[in-house]
């Protein structure tokens, strides 16, 4: 359950990037976040990860008040979330396996548990045979799938993605978004920021549309 209640965000010395945003996403739901460049999509996801602080309002995630969460509790909170970035943020000097394993090491798992879970996650994204490769030798779509494996390897309750298909062609985008939908079918709450209109149409999922920091909810659109 993700709940933005009158959330406002402004960066220091700038006018508001998000204004009075109200967003409700129930546990196990999947939704898309759309809007033009600069609308505040990445900012909204950063608030969810507590990479940025809420300026005003309340942000609840699975019963946790993220807006007031103490610094000490942020790491444990982040470990309950999986994130995929547009620029994938892979470590280029580590092989695929180590990149994915990082999420589990951070969570304190032992070597054997890490082995089997990373293998399973790589199988799931179709990279079972690329564990020893460096990210540099992978294609853009493959790199993005490594990022997804890293985001789901610890089976998080919530999966966030910031334009995961930004620079991929249409068939690859379909493949990636289907991976997210698959994960959603297994019970996770999923929120994906995208400006890929063809995918929005194809998936037929609820859409939150941001425009100049204001959010238009699916209900409003229907009304």
């Amino acid at each position: 359950m993700i709940e933005f209640i009158n959330v406002t965000k402004h960066y220091p010395g700038r006018h508001h990037v998000l204004r009075e945003v109200n967003l409700h996403l129930h546990k196990g739901e999947m939704a898309l976040l759309t809007g033009p460049s600069g609308a505040g999509k990445s900012t909204l996801l950063k608030l969810l990860l507590r990479l940025e602080d809420v300026s005003r309002g309340t942000l609840m995630v699975n019963g946790i008040d993220v807006s007031t969460l103490g610094r000490r509790h942020i790491p444990a909170y982040r470990r309950r979330i999986g994130v995929v970035f547009q620029d994938h943020k892979l470590l280029m000097d580590r092989d695929v396996f180590s990149n994915v394993a990082l999420t589990l090491q951070v969570g304190g798992l032992t070597g054997r548990q890490i082995q089997s879970r990373v293998r399973a996650a790589l199988e799931k994204v179709g990279l079972g045979d690329r564990a020893q490769d460096l990210p540099a030798v992978l294609s853009g779509g493959e790199q993005q799938r490594v990022g997804i494996a890293r985001a789901i390897v610890h089976t998080p309750e919530i999966l966030l993605a910031d334009e995961p298909t930004g620079n991929l062609d249409n068939s690859l985008s379909t493949e990636i978004l289907d991976l997210f939908r698959d994960f959603h079918h297994h019970g996770a709450t999923v929120l994906v920021a995208t400006h890929d209109q063809s995918q929005v149409n194809r998936l037929g999922l609820p859409v939150f549309h941001l425009e100049q920091g204001r959010l238009h909810t699916p209900e409003e659109d229907k009304a």
């Binding site: 790491p75 982040r78 470990r79 990082l102 890293r150």
Partner: protein
């Protein structure tokens, strides 16, 4: 906290160090040299103290007895002297023995014989370790002996002992100050090295933080790097001091022979060596703690 997490961090730290052997070696050698200097000076002071201990027979005190001192007084005095702090030996020189010694040394048999009677008093010759107590305590002790029944006078020259102790104290303090300064230097060297490691691994730190790494998790490999490098530097400093002592041993022994004595240079014993390694590891840890505090924590703000 699980052991395997610490082991993982230790492995990570070792890997990082081994992957950059030249940089690691330079840091460790710089630290070792910085540490070897004060440790070498401490060893030198120790040796000086030991050498001066060899000359303790110069701290010789003569207690001249009254002509009429009773046998009981003499016995009590001997017992008292033997019990006192820093006393190495007590020798009783009777009147006849004193006369024999005097004749032997001065060759004045004829002059003495004209006196008819033996004028020399009996005495106790006390050898003291001058470094066993402070100069003032020593003065007090000798003065109190002078007050004992049966003692006519005490003769001593303890001024050189006071000077010697003052010089040693000065040397020790100077070495402590130097050691303190160099310890700060060692911390800064390590801090700077770890700062470089942190900036090299910025991406890794950021990603780890994104996937929920705690501050402790991110810090730990860097702290271990400091700890390991410090420990190795301590071992190398120990080796440097040991080699220096070995190289100087021959010349020092020949010099001692010229002065008609024997002298063996001391290095660090294993207890001192282990303290050096531990202290050095601690300095490395402190240095990286400093860098981590300054350059890592803003990731979490």
């Amino acid at each position: 906290m699980n052991l395997h997490i610490r082991l993982e961090a230790a492995k990570n730290a070792l890997n990082t160090l081994i992957k950059q052997p030249v940089a690691t070696l330079m840091t460790v050698l710089a630290l070792a040299i910085v540490l070897a200097l004060p440790v070498g000076l401490f060893a030198a002071l120790n040796n000086l103290q030991q050498l001066l201990g060899h000359w303790r027979d110069q701290a010789q005190i003569s207690l001249f007895l009254h002509q009429g001192a009773s046998a009981a007084e003499v016995q009590n005095l001997q017992a008292l002297l033997e019990r006192s702090t820093g006393v190495v030996s007590v020798r009783y020189v009777g009147k006849e023995a004193a006369l024999t010694e005097f004749e032997h040394h001065a060759g004045m048999t004829a002059a003495i014989q004209t006196l008819g009677e033996n004028p020399l008093p009996a005495s106790f010759v006390v050898e003291l370790n001058p470094l066993a107590q402070s100069p003032s305590a020593l003065q007090t002790l000798v003065a109190s002996w002078g007050q004992q029944p049966g003692v006519a006078s005490a003769q001593s020259d303890l001024r050189w002992v006071a000077r010697l102790q003052a010089i040693l104290a000065l040397g020790k303090r100077a070495v402590w100050i130097l050691a303190g300064l160099l310890a700060v230097g060692a911390i800064l060297v390590m801090g700077n090295t770890i700062r470089l490691h942190i900036s090299q691994r910025r991406d890794e730190i950021d990603v780890a933080s994104l996937v929920g790494a705690t501050r402790a998790f991110i810090r730990r490999p860097f702290l271990y790097q400091g700890l390991f490098q410090g420990a190795v530097a301590g071992m190398i400093a120990w080796i440097i001091v040991a080699i220096t002592v070995t190289v100087l041993q021959g010349p020092v022994e020949r010099l001692a022979e010229l002065y008609g004595t024997r002298f063996h240079l001391l290095g660090l014993n294993s207890g001192q060596g282990l303290i050096l390694v531990a202290a050095s590891a601690l300095l490395g840890w402190l240095g990286s703690r400093l860098a981590v505090g300054r350059h890592l924590d803003h990731t979490f703000s």
